[in-house]
């Protein structure tokens, strides 16, 4: 492989809290690693286990899901659902041999920009500790499901 490992971090975050915090982190010029790719969702309650698995299939090194603080969800309990789904997806990742540590749930309030920066730093460190996602490096991809087609 030879080339330097720059982890790819996927963050699925909710528009009301964590995205606002991430936006504020930008305005505050807080420094955090540029490895994170953000997907903004209306609510983390939209996060389905299959999205998390597909993210790893597509080669993400670590995935973070971040919603509002417990009790503060704009949709009341979307973040609680996400928390449970993330916990379940971790066991699925353990089962298949990739390891649940590559996935983590966070709760970051809209005004908590420093917490967002810390969370990204933590996941970047974790990605370095765990090393690259072997699925992203195995080329050509051996297997392909038709789940995308099914969901279309």
């Amino acid at each position: 492989m030879g080339e330097k490992y720059e982890p790819k971090i996927l963050a699925l975050i909710c528009t009301y809290c964590t995205y606002t915090a991430a936006d504020m982190a930008g305005s505050m010029r807080l420094q955090y690693p540029p490895n994170v790719r953000v997907i903004k969702l209306l609510c983390t309650g939209k996060v389905d286990v299959i999205y998390l698995l597909e993210a790893f299939k597509a080669g993400a090194d670590v995935v973070m899901v971040s919603g509002c603080e417990i009790g503060d969800c704009h949709f009341l309990e979307g973040n609680l659902r996400a928390k449970e789904r993330v916990a379940h997806a971790k066991t699925l990742l353990d089962d298949l041999g990739l390891g649940g540590d590559r996935l983590e749930m966070f709760h970051i309030g809209a005004s908590d920009a420093p917490k967002w920066a810390e969370a990204v730093k933590l996941m970047t460190r974790r990605a370095h500790e765990l090393g690259p996602n072997p699925l992203g490096r195995k080329k050509p991809r051996a297997a392909q499901t038709n789940i995308e087609e099914l969901r279309a």
Partner: protein
């Protein structure tokens, strides 16, 4: 509905490891409701198997198919084109559905992805409880709509036993005594007299697993009795 649980991942992975193209066949009815074998769960299993195969350097392809019910021939036909492409099918339906699928496509290995557990109800979000043992001689009209076979750990047909205490079962203090529930239900509906009826002991020879006796043999056996 029929309640099932997904088999442990390792067991499924081992069963499918020898096949190159595997179809994960979901069932859109009972097992979809108990979040075990619907289209979504099949998609999750396929994604898991796919990643495990790549990690293990196995050349395998997983696809997902879903029919309304696997216990109905009409619906099974829809899977034909996908099964024709597959080296093996892993069915996520209950045991009955899996067998019917295997029967409909006898040339393709059909594997089971779930452990079928019971006939039950959806009591609360994510909570399913067993309510019927399909005993073939239903006593619900006598017992106030409460099944003593499925709900009493001893399956007492004329209860309660001596262990009932304050409406709870002696095998488990958290558990209602089925016969106390029966009593209250009958009292509520003015049918306490039902309790005077003695339900006769069962001939459990009836309960042999899924026996299907040809009518002609039945006549011959009865001639010897």
């Amino acid at each position: 509905m029929i309640v099932a649980e997904r088999k442990p991942f390792d067991e499924i992975a081992a069963a499918t490891s020898g096949f190159r193209k595997v179809l994960v066949a979901a069932c859109g009815t009972c097992v979809a409701v108990c979040l075990t074998g619907g289209e979504k769960e099949a998609g999750i299993l396929a994604a898991q198997l796919d990643m495990a195969a790549t990690l293990g350097d196995r050349e395998q392809v997983f696809s997902v198919g879903c029919v309304e019910r696997q216990c109905d021939r009409e619906f099974l036909e829809e899977l034909g084109p996908q099964i024709a492409e597959a080296d093996a099918v892993i069915s996520m339906a209950c045991g009955a559905g899996i067998q019917f699928l295997a029967e409909a496509y006898p040339d393709t290995p059909v594997l089971s992805g779930v452990n079928t557990t019971f006939i039950g109800v959806n009591e609360d979000v994510g909570v399913w409880t067993e309510r019927c043992r399909s005993c073939r001689d239903c006593v619900l009209s006598i017992t106030g709509g409460v099944c003593p076979i499925a709900l009493c750990p001893k399956g007492m047909l004329n209860g309660p036993c001596g262990g009932a205490d304050q409406g709870k079962c002696e095998t488990d203090r958290e558990r209602d005594c089925a016969w106390s529930v029966i009593y209250r239900r009958l009292e509520n509906t003015g049918r306490l007299a039902n309790l005077e009826e003695v339900i006769e002991a069962r001939d459990h020879r009836d309960l042999l697993p899924g026996r299907q006796v040809h009518p002609a043999y039945q006549r011959r056996y009865s001639a010897h009795e």
